[in-house]
Symmetry: C2
Subunit: 284 residues, 2 copies
Amino acid sequence: MNATGPAPALAAASAPRPRTAPDADSGRPSVTRRVLGILDAFSPERPVLSLSDISRRAGLPPATAHRLIAELTRWGALERDENGLYRIGLRLWEVAALAPRGQALREAAMPFLEDLYEATHENVQLAVLDGLEVVYIERIRARNAVHVFTRVGGRWPAHATGVGLALLAHADPELQERAIAGPLRRFTSKTIGSGGELRRVLAEVRRTGVAISDGQVELIALSVAAPVYGPDDTVVAAVSIVVPSHSSDARALIPAVRASARGISRALGAPRALRRPPSATART
Amino acid sequence: MNATGPAPALAAASAPRPRTAPDADSGRPSVTRRVLGILDAFSPERPVLSLSDISRRAGLPPATAHRLIAELTRWGALERDENGLYRIGLRLWEVAALAPRGQALREAAMPFLEDLYEATHENVQLAVLDGLEVVYIERIRARNAVHVFTRVGGRWPAHATGVGLALLAHADPELQERAIAGPLRRFTSKTIGSGGELRRVLAEVRRTGVAISDGQVELIALSVAAPVYGPDDTVVAAVSIVVPSHSSDARALIPAVRASARGISRALGAPRALRRPPSATART
């Protein structure tokens, strides 16, 4: 339920965070910060940049930008095309594929997401929490289903999405209080707008084990999400299905989403997902 | 057909490349190289490292490693767990998701890879060429099909794989000659072992539009691959299906793989995939 092309309302949420810690001795940003600042210059809206674009966006003198970009390109963090424009390179993508909360989580989850997609042919999403935002790790887009704005690697405020509510409900209490304290950005008339309402919803998510976000990002879309547990039985991700808001059978999807979340938790080695539920034991 | 756990034969291919360009003035590696050297310290075999592991693998004094790691962690390129061990962080994964040859290609290809998987329930792979190696961008693993060693972000010598042959056959002639000049690493008795044989196979791939690699990495697996074209009608990726070597119906998969490659090419805006084939025109 988020933006491929960025929703205007999201500009602030997706803007690069300030990263200006200077060198203790010189007062200028360290070389490391400058290198990272070059990576920050690239965004979903601007994935291809000229040398002067990078220089301007990273706040670096052209000569400095040129030298650092040359080093990054030699290593493969950036790639230069035949028009002299730069983009993020394959070697950086390879290294980043080692991120346990990115590619590794995605790899473990993928068979279960596939199953969920094959069973429902609805949009399927996997996300993790980063502060008060969710980051989408995977999405399987159903071509004939409700349009979903999510992008892999994209962000969205947690309080407005099904995956975000599933994650927040099980997050550190201090983080939950920060979310409840607001501000809570509203996208539609149905977006959770008050701390009291968010507190009630999070308690409900904990009670039922599932989060339902109806029309919070766009009035036409509803998502059903469930938490995924890691090896230490804490919530590490959430999986969701997104369907048209008017679907009469949205609640019928709850068991499928929960089963998928449980399968992923089991693949990650979560003790709670390795135990049989009491009812299953009784039946055998 | 490659290694999740690394095949011993692959150690050299997956070892970090030497990156020792020193500062022109000091003769020491520049700060940028040191930062990138820290990222190089992480590998599929070693995705979680201690400070001293990183320091040793990157060849940095502990104090320098500590300072650079702290900056990388603050930005989110690395994450530190509760045991003080480091791993690649979510923010680097987000930035890397902007790589056109990584995530962006994958996003465009995914619906077609899904279709191919749903139609065949065989292992489906998407790869790009990097020098004389292929890098796997996506893999859909069939749970009841032949075991495949590929890992997303993993590499394999191009001459030994279906995707690699499909890519090499359409690569720059100078690169093809480098591959033909060898050495050609052998994994099984069926791996292409001579330049003359590779030259013949590449010509055959260009003639038929499809690459078949039978038992070259493991005797039990056969892959059928087809090239994917980009907006300038050059080959930018290859898609493949991997099946047991003894399948009598491997050739029957060729049309499905070609259709998938054509669909991805169309999604990427390749002019040749937007033209109707003459037979289709005749039929309408």
